[in-house]
């Protein structure tokens, strides 16, 4: 039997460095994979990386200022619709145009939803993010001439760059890889900055943060908007990759799936949610090719994590590392 996790003074530093090494290793492996892999697996990895960016954005929110949103699909889907509408309705699939439109739209949406929802805390925050996101969903479903309604918005092509370069599945894979890595390192930078430490403090003890002079709501809003913007970029990539945006991309089950990714991967880290995205993809989409009971398996795995490994995969990796370290190091 091993005793409970107590990341001590010495052990505490190590997993961090190990985590960074793991990320760099994974990025390297992903960068060379297309030269060996099948078209299908390249597609799968593209999809997982897009979802990983989405999970990362929610993981940032849940792990640092500890804001648990059940409406994150609004930003992902909002970004996807913005990119899709630009690409299909305006027939301009320029990467910068679609990406920037998705980013701007998701950011504005996040400002609006954030201002309204951050008046509440805890379970009320969770519920009002859900309600406001569902309003976005209803709009997506009803505003047929713009969004395609329940049929979705179909025919979104891969992006292109000012007419001299058109992405195909191979180059799009690298674009997604680049943005996934970029999003990770950007948020990693943010979590280590003074701002990131304020968020961590808010997540740990908001009352004290206010007592020492932090107007916590502004910081939470900034984090919320940053997270929403990242989710919006993921959504734009999703639209290009699938060629379709539909109301399900804004609906609450997607928000719940992102939440599962974060919990399974491990809130409180940035690598964790990204790993969680991969695991949940295999449990959900991957397993559904082999069994009709994939939802049940996902529920069971989720419960196991809640029960026995609240730190998620990242937590397991960390404690295994500490055990290894304890055995060899001291």
């Amino acid at each position: 039997m091993v005793e409970a996790t107590k990341p001590g003074e010495k052990a505490g530093r190590f997993p961090v460095r190990a985590g960074t090494l793991a990320v760099l290793g994974a990025l390297g492996a992903l960068a060379v994979y297309p030269f060996f892999g099948t078209t299908y697996m390249i597609g799968v990895l593209t999809e997982i990386m897009i979802l990983a960016i989405f999970a990362l954005s929610l993981g940032f929110l849940m792990g640092y200022p500890k804001l648990i949103s059940l409406g994150h699909a609004a930003f992902f889907g909002g970004g996807a619709y913005a990119a899709g509408i630009v690409a299909v309705r305006l027939e301009a699939a320029n990467l910068f145009l679609t990406l920037v439109c998705a980013l701007v739209f998701a950011t504005l949406l996040a400002v609006l939803i954030g201002v309204l929802s951050l008046r509440n805390t805890g379970i009320y925050f969770l519920m009002i993010t859900l309600a406001l996101a569902q309003l976005v969903y209803v709009v997506a479903e009803q505003w047929t001439w713009l969004t395609g309604g329940t049929d979705g918005l179909v025919g979104i092509p891969y992006p292109e760059l000012f007419g001299f370069f058109s992405f195909d599945r191979f180059s799009f894979y690298y674009l997604v890889l680049l943005l996934a890595g970029g999003a990770y390192f950007l948020l990693r930078l943010v979590t280590r900055s003074p701002f990131g430490h304020v968020l961590l403090g808010i997540g740990s003890n908001e009352r004290r943060m206010r007592a020492i002079g932090y107007g916590t709501r502004v910081y939470k809003l900034a984090a919320f908007v940053l997270s929403g913007a990242v989710a919006g970029v993921a959504g734009a990539l999703w639209a290009h990759y699938n060629g379709i945006v539909a109301p399900v991309d804004v609906n609450w089950p997607l928000s719940a799936t992102a939440l599962i990714m974060v919990i399974v991967g491990g809130a409180g880290t940035l690598v964790g949610p990204m790993l969680g995205a991969a695991v949940v993809w295999f449990l959900d989409t991957g397993l559904s090719s082999y069994t009709e009971r994939s939802t049940m398996i996902m529920g069971a795995v989720f419960i196991l994590f809640v029960f026995f490994a609240r730190g998620g995969i990242a937590g397991i990796a960390r404690s295994l590392w500490e055990r290894f370290y304890a055995r060899t190091g001291t």
Partner: protein
């Protein structure tokens, strides 16, 4: 001009009058103790001053400025610091990070997102200065949750000090401490820069005697005495209020 001034401050919870027309003023650099039986309203009064609760009526002034109904964060920025009766720390962070976060609060860099916090060296210098003040320099890398209780009280004080307050509210700084820990805490508080105004809630009359010359006595939300320790001790009303816990006062 008084550093802190209360004028007829009232707060009711339903039918209960928690604070009933309390008025007093504290001069800059003065050290004042606030005592009273359990449930007298001491912590409520602190919450009213620090902005965690809005008063129903009355005025709170800090350095002559009306700060009634300011939010806690605004009060902190006006130069008011406070500690909590029950430790309110950032438990998963190290001692160093706890204090640095408080230092950062007035450093104007909190919206910097793209450089690591370690790049801001003046945060580090100031943090180390405060750690020395509360005698935790040797424990800087330890997580707050792994400190001894006494050390956590020291850190509680350290966080409040790190915001550079002009007025500091201390809510039972020695509560639950051993005799030795209490002695250290008193020594630490005595060494605080003279310009910091202190208002201390304290049960231990030795501590009160060591730190403050002036005492405010609160009972059922009303201020029943205000004056030097010896004088207050002889006050009939105070004795009556402390009946049952009166030994504490007399022993002191």
């Amino acid at each position: 001009m008084p550093a802190l001034e209360l004028e007829s401050v009232c707060k009711r919870f339903g039918a209960l009058s928690a604070i009933d027309g309390v008025s007093f003023a504290v001069e800059p650099g003065e050290r004042v103790a606030l005592v009273g039986p359990n449930g007298a309203g001491k912590t409520t009064l602190f919450n009213l001053i620090s902005g965690e609760l809005p008063p129903d009526s009355g005025t709170v002034r800090l350095g002559g400025r009306d700060v009634t109904r300011h939010t806690p964060e605004k009060m902190a920025r006006e130069g008011l610091g406070r500690t909590f009766q029950r430790n309110s720390l950032f438990m998963e962070s190290t001692v160093y990070e706890n204090v640095r976060l408080a230092v950062q609060a007035r450093a104007g860099v909190s919206f910097q997102m793209l450089r690591p916090i370690t790049a801001y060296s003046r945060l580090g210098e100031e943090t180390e200065r405060v750690l020395e003040l509360v005698r935790l320099s040797g424990r800087a890398g330890v997580r707050a949750s792994e400190l001894s209780y006494g050390e956590q009280r020291q850190l509680e004080l350290g966080i409040a000090l790190a915001t550079g307050p002009r007025v500091l509210l201390l809510d039972e700084p020695t509560a639950g401490m051993s005799a030795q820990e209490t002695g250290e805490m008193v020594a630490m508080l005595k060494e605080l820069p003279g310009e910091i105004t202190l208002l201390i809630v304290e049960h231990d009359m030795d501590v009160v005697g060591a730190l403050a010359r002036r005492i405010l006595v609160l009972n059922f939300g009303r201020l029943i005495a205000d004056g030097p320790l010896e004088e207050v001790r002889r006050n009939e009303e105070v004795l009556a209020a402390y009946l049952g816990v009166g030994e504490e006062v007399r022993d002191a």
